[in-house]
């Protein structure tokens, strides 16, 4: 493996790909989808989480004037609890012996963070002291994930698929233009050529995935990045295979539609709670996106999802071994792949 050579090959792949008309659509599609969904469902910038508070509470006035949360006042603590439980309010602030901040079950982690920050600064201002006020938090049992959260897996899989698709397209184009032949009589080995493309696809898929997770406020755990990495790696393996098996770009696009449904199935399972959730577990991408949702929305930790990481890494290994085999066979003679 020759690292400087792979870097030069990857630089060429970037240079060629960004000039291809399809590149713009590949990038724009998931980002536009994210923007449309987040704007439509109103969590991006525009809307703020809603909070219920007792009308006689000292912090009420401070909270209303801060603008960080949308405040409504209620006659009693019971009324506040009721408003949160019914879903009218994302959170409720209740004063008793100490302050209790109650979250609705289907709030996102970023909404909860915003509520907590607004409440703690308002309470500090109201008490007029520099001492921090103790707030105990409580969360109602989630009634289910919000629609926006349920759409995250769908978008993240698109990001990963774009990473794989870039590789397929780039390989198919180099085959169609016969530029691969020129590379194979250069000092670059087939492994270098393939590795460069894989790295480019991995990088692009990761950047898109991180952007989408960030825009959805779901970048709250380092483990999410680990799952994203191995999830994108899976589609990279698929992309490599498609790049040698498909005969043309039209062929690729036509078959991609069908294959996309398989990759997206676990996302559909999360999107539509009517579908039994075990069905999703039959598909590899489940082990990629389900943990991301558990980690960011349901307070799961490594202990809860480690086995899904193991399954995902095994899926990666399987798909990459298969890709290496397909590459070797389909391009045998033309492509003497060294042992991977």
């Amino acid at each position: 493996m020759n690292v400087p050579l792979i870097a030069r090959l990857a630089k060429k792949d970037v240079r060629v790909t960004v000039r291809e008309p399809y590149f713009f659509f590949y990038l724009a599609f998931p980002l536009l989808m994210t923007l449309v969904i987040t704007v439509a469902l109103g969590s991006l910038g525009g809307s703020v989480p809603s909070l219920g508070v007792c009308q006689d509470d000292a912090a009420a006035a401070y909270l209303s004037s801060s603008g960080a949360v949308d405040v409504a006042t209620y006659p009693s603590i019971e009324a506040v609890r009721e408003a949160v439980a019914s879903g009218d309010r994302d959170g409720g602030l209740m004063a008793g012996e100490y302050y209790v901040l109650l979250y609705a079950g289907d709030t996102t982690s970023s909404e909860r963070a915003a509520l907590y920050a607004a409440v703690s600064s308002a309470l500090a201002a109201a008490s007029g002291s520099t001492e921090t006020v103790d707030i105990s938090v409580e969360r109602l049992e989630p009634r289910g994930l919000s629609l926006q959260v349920r759409l995250i897996p769908f978008l993240v899989i698109i990001a990963a698929v774009v990473g794989g698709l870039i590789i397929s397209s780039s390989l198919i184009e180099e085959r169609e233009h016969h530029t691969l032949d020129a590379l194979f009589v250069s000092p670059a080995t087939p492994f270098d050529v393939i590795a460069a493309k894989a790295l480019f696809g991995l990088f692009l898929g990761m950047v898109l995935g991180l952007l989408i997770l960030g825009l959805n406020g779901a970048l709250t755990s380092a483990l999410v990045v680990v799952f994203l990495f191995f999830g994108v790696l899976f589609t990279i393996g698929i992309g490599l295979m498609a790049g040698v098996v498909m005969n043309s770009m039209t062929d690729l696009i036509a078959r991609m539609k069908l294959f996309n449904i398989v990759l997206q199935f676990p996302a559909l399972v999360i999107l539509f709670p009517q579908i039994p959730s075990w069905l999703g577990m039959l598909f590899p991408t489940h082990y990629f996106i389900a943990p991301i949702i558990s980690l960011t929305q349901e307070g799961a930790a490594l202990g809860d999802v480690w086995w899904k990481l193991v399954v995902l890494v095994l899926c990666d290994a399987a798909v990459l071994v298969m890709a290496a085999k397909v590459l070797r066979r389909r391009m045998s003679g033309m492509l003497h792949l060294p042992s991977l």
């Binding site: 030069r8 032949d181 020129a182 194979f184 000092p187 003679g333």
Partner: protein, 304 residues
Amino acid sequence: MTVDNPYKVRNTYVTGYSGSAHVMMIEATGLTYRYGDFVAVDDISFSVAEGEILGFLGPNGAGKSTTVKMLTGQLVPARGVATVLGTDVSRHPKAVHERIGVCFEEKNLYPRMTVRENLQFFADLFDRSVDVDELIRKVDLEKWASERAEALSKGMQQRVMVARALVNDPDVLFLDEPTSGLDPVSAEQIREIIRAEKTRGKTVFLTTHNMAEADALSDRVAFINEGRIVALDTPENLKLRLGRRLLRVRTRAGDDFAEEVLPLDDDATPDRMGALLRAGGIATVHTLEATLEEVFIQLTGRKL
């Protein structure tokens, strides 16, 4: 000058390269390639000495490109060994690739990269410093250096491909039909580049189905037909070996032309020629040696 044994000349010719002490830059031994059951190249052997241009002449489908691909490590021979620069190409393709240049039959530039980017990219893959601008000058494309390859004419693209083959200053050049389908001016420009490389002592393996080109450029020519080499010699010897050793003399008397054909190897010919010369009135004298094309047809029964 009469030549009684063409093989003698051939031997003399080969030892004419003894300045480089029998350094064989390319050696093919029993090369065979099959596409499925179809034998595209059938047990061919030859060698190319340092500084030599070998013309590989044959009709479409003869197996020229398949041979180039085996010699350059793109295809692994079913049987036989290809050695380039003393290295077995199938075993150590990358060692060979460092020191050879390949110009492909099919156009294969990165269409969306500029001429300079195309060349710079390949230059960067080699572990040596390359003056890409010098290379662009060499193929006379300074004005087009910043244009995308896809915007160039076929002839210009072909020159970029030749330049790319030269990017590592290779010791051996493989050119697969570099002038095929080009206009005469572009074709001649490429022939000039090939001659210049030969002058610099480089070895060239040139495939073509253009008999005149093979004749003009090659030190030796291999005729290839249906995957086999049917003849391999200098163009002169090939023409002599199979051509007719005849002299055609046209004489003029007033407005009337007369024509006489004299066999060169006949004892009576010197006297007859002398008589014609003394009589005056000779308009033209031609030898009737064959063209390479005629020799090819005679050997294979098919046209180029």
